[in-house]
């Protein structure tokens, strides 16, 4: 099992002195390549902070975070940007699609910013939109799509260029149950189809139950984890 994401005794504090808030208090966990892990816990337990650290959007106050074996603490600003561009994709509850760009242009954007050639970027974008189940109307604008379809475009943008780690922060939060199910089904297929490791933050057991493993956080600590029974896994796989 190759580790895609590793947290080793990670502490993250915000503020100082009396106003200090400890969002994570010594979190240790590993997500393997091609593994789908859900993170659950009450509001303020540190779920989103965990994703921000994994995506190099924040730096830990103590401990070590590694993505694909690379220690994030030693990376400069340029290397962090490169990591976010090449290895790690992010999907949020708010879609953050650019309304004035078409579906395919939204997906092409991160690779074009990285300086890839227009032709290869376009091919990659079409392929990844196909993966998320969108083959038609690629030249339409985000507003022309349903909420679930828009989230699919956002996922396509997050994984385009074969990124190995996808971090999804409540991606179903603004969707109805049926669209939410479709989005999670898509996330659940990525580890098998693309080998992408997926970390999903959710408060919905319905969606967390798709994961290979569910980690529970409380007060910034991992308090437990749930696995589907090994016998059942053996039958399905």
């Amino acid at each position: 099992m190759t580790a895609m994401l590793e947290f080793d005794d990670v502490v993250k504090s915000f503020g100082q002195g009396l106003t200090e808030v400890r969002a994570l208090r010594g979190v240790t966990l590993t997500v393997a390549e091609g593994e789908f892990v859900a993170v659950m816990g009450p509001s303020g337990c540190g779920k989103s902070t965990l994703l921000h650290l994994a995506g190099a959007l924040e730096t830990p106050s103590a401990g070590s975070v590694r993505v694909g074996g690379r220690e994030l603490a030693g990376l400069g600003a340029a290397e962090r940007s490169e990591l976010r561009r090449n290895d790690v994709g992010y999907v949020f509850q708010r879609l953050n699609l650019i309304p004035s760009l078409t579906a395919i242009e939204n997906v092409m954007l991160p690779l074009e910013l990285a300086g890839e050639s227009h032709r290869s970027v376009q091919q990659m974008a079409v392929a990844v939109l196909h993966t998320v189940g969108l083959d038609q109307r690629l030249d339409r604008y985000p507003d022309d799509f349903s909420g679930g379809q828009q989230q699919r475009i956002a996922i396509a943008r997050a994984i385009v260029g074969h990124r190995r780690l996808l971090l999804a922060d409540e991606p179903t939060g603004s969707l109805d149950t049926a669209s939410g199910d479709e989005v999670i089904e898509l996330l659940a297929a990525l580890p098998q189809e693309q080998g992408t490791a997926v970390v999903l933050v959710t408060h919905e057991p319905r969606f967390a139950s798709w994961a290979d493993r569910v980690i529970f956080l409380r007060d910034g600590r991992v308090v437990d984890e749930a696995l589907a029974a090994p016998a059942t896994q053996a039958v399905v796989r």
Binding site: P205, V214, D224, A226, A228
Partner: protein
């Protein structure tokens, strides 16, 4: 009685029909079926009749009183007062007596177990569609009940951590 309303049946047929209608989650002992039939017969709700081919095995059919009782059962809402005892609820409530930390530990363990159960249901769903609509509906019921229990555990956890926060 609902199964007898469709057509007269013997005990074995009732057992098989019951199990297939309920997706196989509640296996029945045929002795249980005959005990129930005898009780219904004693109460005048079913009566014995010859089998379709004059077979030796007796069949049962609904009486007029049985049809009336069944009609009332369809519209009866299952609202028990007080509610039936719920083991999960009892575990958490009793755990409170040993302090909030213990209660939180019980909630955590129960939640992990319930989520493992949900994961198994999900894997079964992904492995292929249910063999029939009854099984699919039974699976749905088990999933949404597990989800409801998980929501309740979340609410318990929120109340306990809120109280711990206030006590600090």
């Amino acid at each position: 009685m609902a199964l007898l309303a469709e057509q007269p049946r013997n005990g074995h047929q009732l057992k098989l029909e019951f199990e297939s209608t309920t997706g196989g989650v509640w296996p029945l002992n045929v002795g249980q079926v005959y005990t129930t039939l005898e009780r219904l017969e004693r109460d005048g709700l079913v009566s014995r009749t010859a089998g379709p081919d004059d077979t030796a095995q007796k069949h049962y059919e609904l009486t007029a009183a049985g049809r009336e009782a069944l009609a009332a059962w369809w519209s009866l809402v299952p609202a028990d007062e007080p509610p039936p005892r719920d083991e999960l609820m009892l575990k958490v409530l009793f755990a409170m007596g040993r302090g909030p930390e213990h209660a939180l530990a019980v909630i955590t363990a129960q939640r992990s177990a319930l989520l493992s159960l949900l994961q198994q249901h999900r894997r079964a769903q992904r492995a292929g569609p249910a063999p029939d609509i009854s099984t699919a509906m039974v699976r749905d019921a088990l999933v949404v009940r597990a989800e409801a229990d998980l929501r309740w555990l979340d609410l318990c956890e929120a109340r306990l951590t809120e109280r711990k926060g206030t006590a600090r």
